[in-house]
Amino acid sequence: MNLAARMKPVSPKRFISAHSIRLFGLAFLAVIAWASPRSFSQQSIDVDKAAALLQAGETEKACQAYHALLTAKPANPEAEAGEVTCSEQLALKARANGDLNGALQYLLQARDVVPHNSRLLYDLGILEDQMHLYKDADLSLDAAGKLDPTDSRIWYASGRVKMDLGQLDLAKEKLAAYLAVHPEDATAHYGLGRAYQLGLQFDKARTEFQRSISLQAAQTEGYYQLGDIALHEGEFDESIANFEKTLVRNPKHGGALAGIGEAYFKEKKYDKALEYLRRAVAAASDYQPGHYYLGLTLARLGKQEESKQELSIAEKLADDENRKSSQHLQLNPAVEEPNARNR
């Protein structure tokens, strides 16, 4: 959420238009001032006060002021802009401190009084996605997209969320639309590759990952996914080669270490498998496939007790993941056990 990046310069034409509106607004205010001489001018003062607080770095107070203003008198454009700005700042700060729930609260509160702001909805969608609240993220980004259909960043973010929801066709559509405008975006090519990969369209996935790498050679994930595809296709030499490239930049990449281990396991090279799988679980103790294949490898090497321990860990991690994944959809504060079979 880079606020500086979002400040669009106002063109002279737009400025003139804005100026006209302001003049009209002032005239309008002059008329209304007869009806409620204090309310509008008071509002104007309050907005200025809030802006001053924000300028002075008193972000919380500024937010409170804007919020109160908008609660009493919704749809004040300056107050709305201020509300969005200050809540963004607070959310960014909370997120930087690892308090995602806090960040979410700030944005949700802002949305209560500024329900139709594409920038706010975009921010909210990004955060909800990060918190695995995919359905909420989807709703936020859909709403943002309707308010600003030309913002390609929303297409990208929405594509990622659609992927998290398993709506692969829509994910591919949105990411492809983004890439039509930003063809040199390596991350987006990677994202589109993932969408193809999840739908088992390995050839197309491979193309996108390779494109991502060509645009940004200094990365790990593109190589990792190429390794994963090759592993699924039974091309073990190719998979190992790509996983090794992943390790060049990140020697402790648990997935790559486990992937090499799995490849050696399937080639029945159990000693080599053991070496890499031990490194995998040391590097990523929560990575379930690492424990699983380590357990299998140990069994093949006759180390039954240790095999049972590893398989037991793998089983427990699988159960934990099961439980977590059923909740990665939507906030349900009113519901005790949001464990429906929505997968």
Partner: protein, 534 residues
């Protein structure tokens, strides 16, 4: 082609849909294809539900209150139509039925039925004329809890069929809200505790003894599907259990009266990434003709059905990706499944009943569907290919598919199927695949072995190659299939050798058997070689 109505089958599964979204509402029911009077024609038994109120008090065991809830027994007549003989058969049933397993448990020559359900199961002894007597209490096999699939299998090879009864979860009519505030859904099985299966050893006098713990089969599970085969070639039947959202179980028969659960270490408990899935239906059959039975397990959308290739009995390799099964099933939810050679080319294909378990799934996930068409996947010998679209209009129809039994009901050499749907009709799928390929069906009659020959491994050799079939009625989900061993022979008109390994240990060999017939094979008194021609 779907011909249930045309053949006189008018069945509607009763599954109340309440505001409480009780999980049992969506789990469907099973079907059995078996010959109830030995007239050579397959008959049909369909399991039905029972009413329960909204809400239902805890501790309730639903009871059938009228004919719309009866299980249904259909006898096939000479003209190929089916007659509803439910009332005179004595098979109306009681309670909320789930699954069925057919076999001749007392070796008297007539197929009996075991019907599972919620709150208790029933054993019906065939009187010899397609009428049945409820012998549950005498036999001691009533069970308790929520039972699902069951399988008849001679666990200790004493010549008498034992009974393995799966149970799903510890469950009562709790009012648990699962899902979002505006979209209540069926609860995930993670919400409930696992429960062990029931295993009844056949004592031979019409009585059974529950021995799950004694034999090592009492590991708590969330069991829905069961399949039986000797996966490691040691001549003892092993058992695979499809569990919902936990590790799957493979019980290795140690041959000493006990079993050891080896799912994880064998590689058949989780998917290729080490993750669990919602296992529901299962089949255990050799799809690549290397003599080792392989596994297919269905699950929910976004999980991919799990195909495991048996690596010479030592371990299983997750083959969903390279086989093509993964890609074609990613968005589908599957229940009953069977390997079957639908086109008689010598390669076992796959037929699956599909449909999501959540009736509101499209609200949250528009790419997923509650009602889905059947899936037919053709085995090319190298991979599986989805041929549903070119296999008849029935594959365009969308159902809430659950149980399925396969069998050649019109004895034309092409394997047919019956499918049940949750809260809907049963469908009779007549296989009308046009082909010049030949076939052979074997009906085994055991003497030293159990009379149905269940557990026999039949090897068929032709000029094109060799195939293996394990004789079983258990497979898929909640259902019981025709026990006759069917082989597609391609262009071969003669089977050069048939080798039958009976559960008794007898190896019986038949040479030069003509194709395109249903052959009754009686178990030889000792190792025997014979020659059979049409």
């Amino acid at each position: 082609m779907e011909i249930a109505s045309a053949r006189g089958i008018h069945f509607l599964h009763q599954a109340p849909h309440t505001s409480k979204k009780y999980l049992i509402e969506t789990m469907g029911s099973g079907v059995a294809l078996f010959d109830c009077d030995n007239d050579g024609r397959l008959d049909l038994f369909l399991v039905n539900g029972a009413p329960f109120p909204d809400p239902t008090p805890k501790g309730t065991v639903p009871q059938k209150t009228g004919s719309e809830y009866w299980n249904r027994m259909y006898h096939q007549k000479k003209d190929g139509t089916f007659e509803d003989v439910t009332e005179k058969s004595g098979l109306k049933g009681v309670g909320y039925g789930m699954g069925v397993a057919a076999a001749d448990y007392d070796n008297d020559g007539y197929e009996d039925l075991y019907v599972t359900g919620y709150g208790g199961n029933r054993l019906y002894h065939n009187n010899g004329d397609c009428t049945f007597s409820d012998v549950t209490d005498r036999a001691g096999v009533g069970g308790s809890g929520w039972s699902t699939s069951a399988a008849w299998v001679d666990l200790d090879k004493d010549g008498m069929l034992d009974l393995v009864v799966l149970r799903y979860v510890e469950w009562d009519w709790d009012d648990r809200w699962c899902g979002s505030p505006d979209n209540r859904g069926y609860c995930h099985p993670d919400v409930f505790q696992p429960i062990s299966m029931l295993v009844y050893h056949n004592s031979g006098n019409g009585r059974f003894t529950e021995v799950a713990k004694k034999v090592g089969l009492s590991k708590p599970a969330k069991a829905l599907g069961i399949a039986v085969a000797d996966y490691d070639g040691d001549s003892w039947p092993d058992i695979y259990v499809a569990n919902d959202s936990m590790v799957e179980f493979l019980f290795h028969n140690k041959g000493d009266g006990t079993f050891e659960e080896v799912g994880l270490s064998s590689g058949a408990a989780v998917d290729g990434d080490g993750r669990t899935f919602a296992g529901m239906g299962v089949d255990f059959s050799d799809y690549d003709n290397d003599s080792y039975p392989d596994l297919i397990i269905t699950d929910l959308a976004n999980q991919r059905y799990a195909l495991y290739h048996n690596e010479k009995g030592a371990e299983f390799n997750y083959a969903s990706y390279i086989s093509g099964i993964g890609a074609m099933t990613f968005l589908h939810s599957g229940w009953s499944v069977r390997f079957l050679d639908y086109d008689n080319d010598g390669w076992k294909d796959l037929l699956l009943a599909q449909g999501h378990d959540l009736d509101t799934v499209e609200k949250s996930y528009p790419q997923l569907h509650y009602r889905e068409p059947m899936l037919l996947a053709r085995n090319t010998g190298k991979r599986f290919v989805d041929v549903s679209a070119m296999s008849g209009s029935v594959f365009q129809e969308k159902w809430v598919g659950r149980g399925m039994a396969i069998g050649d009901f019109d004895n034309d050499g092409r394997v047919d199927a019956v499918v049940t749907t949750n809260g809907g009709p049963a469908y009779l799928l007549h296989n009308e695949t046009e082909s010049s390929n030949h076939w052979l069906t074997l009906k085994l009659v055991g003497h030293k072995s159990n009379r149905d020959g269940l557990g026999s491994v039949v090897k068929v050799v032709t000029s094109k190659g060799t195939q293996w079939v394990t004789v079983t009625t258990a497979s898929g989900y909640l259902s019981s299939s025709d026990p006759r061993a069917h082989f597609g022979l391609g262009s071969d008109t003669v089977v050069t050798k048939i080798e039958i390994l009976w559960p008794s240990g007898t190896v019986q060999i038949l040479n030069n058997v003509s194709a395109d017939q249903i052959l009754n094979v009686s178990e030889a008194a000792s190792q025997a070689t014979g020659s059979v021609q049409k």
